[in-house]
């Protein structure tokens, strides 16, 4: 067992332990680590957004390639600074309006196509199916999607004869889907914890597995 002498490994280890102290109870050390993360993340975001988004999309076209049309988005973007002054902070609504307009406009046809049409199209029964298994699967998919949609239908009481059973099937499938994502979340959360423990044991304390 030879403990690491690398400064960065020690920093990583101490920060990991600081966060683990929250398991005992919420304490100043944990809060300090949490605020350190919030600060670093905001600083990191500023640099990455500047280098990967602002510089290539605003600075270069406007100031280097002299495309003066870019003055408009640049000025609109500067209006975001007014959020620091309450009296004139309503001005952020103009760049927001442009982004909202473009965003909403682009999303309507695309969302209808990919979320609504595509998902229902691939659930419609399209025989012939090669074998019995794919017949059953296609049927479950079709009944499943229809019953989930009926479950989230609010214009008819659920105790009507036909609707009651279908929405029960829908709820059953929803629970099955939640169980599946519950299971995979358990695996994922443990992978993260095992990753941290493996770092502490292997890289920091240098305990090689036997």
């Amino acid at each position: 067992m030879h403990i690491s002498t690398n400064l960065w490994i020690w920093i990583q280890a101490l920060l990991t332990l600081a966060i683990f102290t929250f398991l005992y109870k919420d304490n100043p050390l944990f809060r300090m680590a949490e605020h350190l993360f919030v600060g670093l993340a905001t600083g990191y975001g500023l640099v990455v957004v500047y280098k990967n988004a602002f510089y290539p999309n605003v600075w270069v076209p406007l100031f280097q390639e002299k495309q003066f049309i870019f003055i408009i988005p640049f000025v609109l973007g500067l209006l975001y600074l007014t959020s620091a002054f309450p009296k004139i902070s309503y001005m952020i609504r103009w760049p927001m309006a442009v982004l909202l307009g473009i965003g909403s406009g682009l999303s309507i046809p695309l969302t209808i196509q990919t979320y609504i049409i595509e998902q229902s199209k691939s659930s419609i029964l399209r025989p012939p199916y090669p074998d019995l298994i794919s017949w059953i699967n296609a049927l479950i998919l079709f009944v499943g999607v229809v019953s989930v949609l009926v479950y989230f239908y609010f214009s008819i009481p659920h105790d009507r004869p036909g609707v009651k059973q279908i929405s029960k099937v829908g709820l059953f499938l929803l629970m099955l889907g939640f169980g599946a994502s519950f299971g995979y979340t358990v695996m994922a959360r443990f992978s993260l914890l095992v990753g941290r423990l493996d770092f502490l044991l292997n890289k920091w304390l240098g305990i090689r597995p036997f």
Binding site: L23, Y24, V48, N52, P56, Q119, S122, A180, S181, Y184, T185, V186, M187, A188, F190, S191, L192, L193, V194, G195, L197, D198, L201, N202, I207, P209, F210
Partner: protein
């Protein structure tokens, strides 16, 4: 104290003890790995066998679109696939659409050099990071060397010996997108649907569920999902290494997956015990 009281008391113990049980339950297998033998699941087998049966000298693009926060699950997959390609004489072309992926991919290729004496620009090529996401994916369909004028190390892509016969996706047998986000879907839409190149995904366990629609629609040839897939692939590559008499194995994913398995079994145990206590106490009321 009857059995019933024992279970009721047991299901009410303080959460600190539960944390202790979990901590010990994970640390022991990390130090004394039980090395449960692996068995390849269907999706992993599809990707493994596809690469395993590629003719010598074919090309595979490995896009490291993940960052350190999902490294425990995805990085061992990248390292295993790089070694698998080189062992089969297939030339992996490393690249990344995310800034942080570059450092991780580089680590995988340096390990391949150490373990397999792989030679840069002959046994593998590493092109590094390129901004633009979908625009880059589209560009590779036209001309890879115009999208990447130089590789990660600054060498001109036109001078790289291994890249001589490669122009665009027509010369690529498979593209694998390693990611913790939805990028593999972007590869499916822009690379497969538009240019017809075969695509596979290597993703975290949590996001696995979201890619099944693409598998069902035939846009992915297979998927590596979560730590379990990483361990299975790593084990398969270790077997090839043994065949070729190369001693240096990597067991990081296998070891971590053993610990993961024990953690997951503990969860099942806890739910069962907790519910026994709950039912017994409810009947008593």
């Amino acid at each position: 104290m009857s059995v019933r009281d024992f279970f009721i008391k047991l299901s009410k113990i303080d959460r600190k003890y539960i944390y202790l049980v979990i901590l010990i339950g994970l640390i022991i297998p990390l130090i004394f790995p039980p090395r449960f033998p692996q068995k390849m699941s269907p999706q992993v087998k599809r990707v493994f066998e596809y690469i395993d049966t590629l003719p010598k000298g074919s090309y595979v693009i490995l896009s490291a679109d993940y960052d350190p926060s999902v490294a425990p699950e995805v990085h061992p997959m990248y390292k295993a696939v790089v070694k698998h390609c080189i062992l089969r004489g297939v030339i992996p072309i490393g690249m990344t659409l995310g800034v942080q992926g570059a450092g991780l991919a580089l680590d995988a290729f340096t390990e391949a050099e150490r373990v397999l004496e792989a030679r840069r620009d002959t046994d593998y090529v590493f092109l590094g990071y390129q901004a633009g996401g979908a625009v880059v994916i589209l560009g590779l369909g036209e001309d890879i060397k115009s999208v990447y004028k130089t590789d990660y190390f600054g060498t001109k892509t036109t001078d790289i010996y291994a890249l001589k016969p490669v122009k665009n996706y027509r010369d690529i047998a498979l593209v694998i997108s390693f990611s913790g986000s939805a990028l593999p879907a972007t590869w499916a839409v822009y690379a497969y649907t538009k240019y017809g190149v075969k695509v596979a995904a290597a993703v975290t366990g949590v996001s696995a569920g979201d890619f099944y629609p693409y598998i069902q629609a035939g846009q992915f040839i297979g998927m590596l999902a979560g730590m379990k897939a990483a361990a299975e692939y790593e084990d398969a590559v270790n077997r090839i290494l043994k065949e070729k008499g190369i001693g240096k194995f990597s067991t990081s994913a296998i070891r971590m997956m053993d610990a993961n398995s024990i953690g997951q079994l503990l969860i099942i145990l806890f739910i069962i015990i907790g519910n026994i206590g709950y039912f017994l106490s409810r009947r008593r009321k």
